[in-house]
Symmetry: D2
């Protein structure tokens, strides 16, 4: 069994044992991702990257990933497929010869 399937199964088991599927609609799962992304961001507030607490970053990132996997499952998205597809699209928006070494957005290249 692949990793993402294994993680998703564990998340679904945790959710179902608590009868939480009733709350997990896509809109609220997206709120969950944003909220946890904010808690992750808080680990870097007023400081540079090296001063963030690695353990806390780990926990908040895990929360972001958990809701992201649950949202993917809700839509029956294949996580590997949608990320690889996005990379392919971004390869067109950010061609190597124009994007190399610059942090500009594609519409400013």
């Amino acid at each position: 069994m692949n990793d993402i399937k294994e993680i998703t199964d564990a998340l679904i088991k945790f959710r179902n044992e608590r009868d939480w599927e009733q709350f997990h609609n896509p809109k609220d799962l997206s709120l969950g991702i944003s909220i946890e992304a904010g808690e992750l961001l808080e680990q870097f507030l007023w400081k540079d990257s090296p001063n963030a607490n690695t353990e806390k970053v780990k926990e908040e990132l895990a929360d972001v990933l958990a809701y992201a996997f649950l949202l993917a499952e809700k839509y029956d998205f294949d996580v590997k497929k949608i990320v690889l597809e996005k990379i392919r699209k971004n390869s067109e928006k950010y061609p190597v010869d124009k994007a190399k070494g610059t942090a500009k957005k594609y519409n400013e290249l």
Copy 2:
């Protein structure tokens, strides 16, 4: 090769071809996650879940996941391990007998 390793390798290849590693410090990757989480959230603004555009949700969720995998790689976190560990911790914060069927936060159970 497992899925997450395969996705991460593709992200790193895309990044390195563009010489973008110089920009990808943990703080800015966390900004990236929050920004993309906001774009995901926008798909649900002023509407209920069923009225969101599935294609757009897919693309924005892929962006959230891409930055999340890149941040995990930056810290050398094992995605499967950190999410399963978080589920274990949450199992203690949300014991089934107290948390079943309620959306309350652990400190209100």
Copy 3:
């Protein structure tokens, strides 16, 4: 003295008494806004608007506003002027005859 000036003065006084201006660069103040916006959002997670806790909404909204006023002050923006200017711009993007009664984004009108 107008309200916004009075609020901003109180925020600056609070900040300076703690010698916090050194941390309050525009980037980190923007992180602050996003983080507090996430805490505000959390008040609505898994629930409809009427079930949110008004006291907590009040506190989190106050935090968002505090950082927003501090960021405006940092750039010497006139809050009234920039919001009224944005309304004027949005009036062009969302002309009444096209936008009335629909939640569509301007590029879909």
Copy 4:
């Protein structure tokens, strides 16, 4: 008339001309704040504060403020009162003698 009342009146007028009150429930207004906070944050992605585009920061901050004022209005909160009250509470959480010159969170002081 004070500034905040004047801004809020202009926002309500803009909203009502478009018959948008039906969409502006507190939960979705909070989504709006988070989404715009993400767009503000994007102005600082991969860069330090001085390299952000001031005009764009101004526009995104105006959007955050607009939704924040609309949410305050929805709850009939007095913006000045709730921010001053929050400063008072924070003065207790962050006493000058402990908080001076440090960016630590109150629970770590």
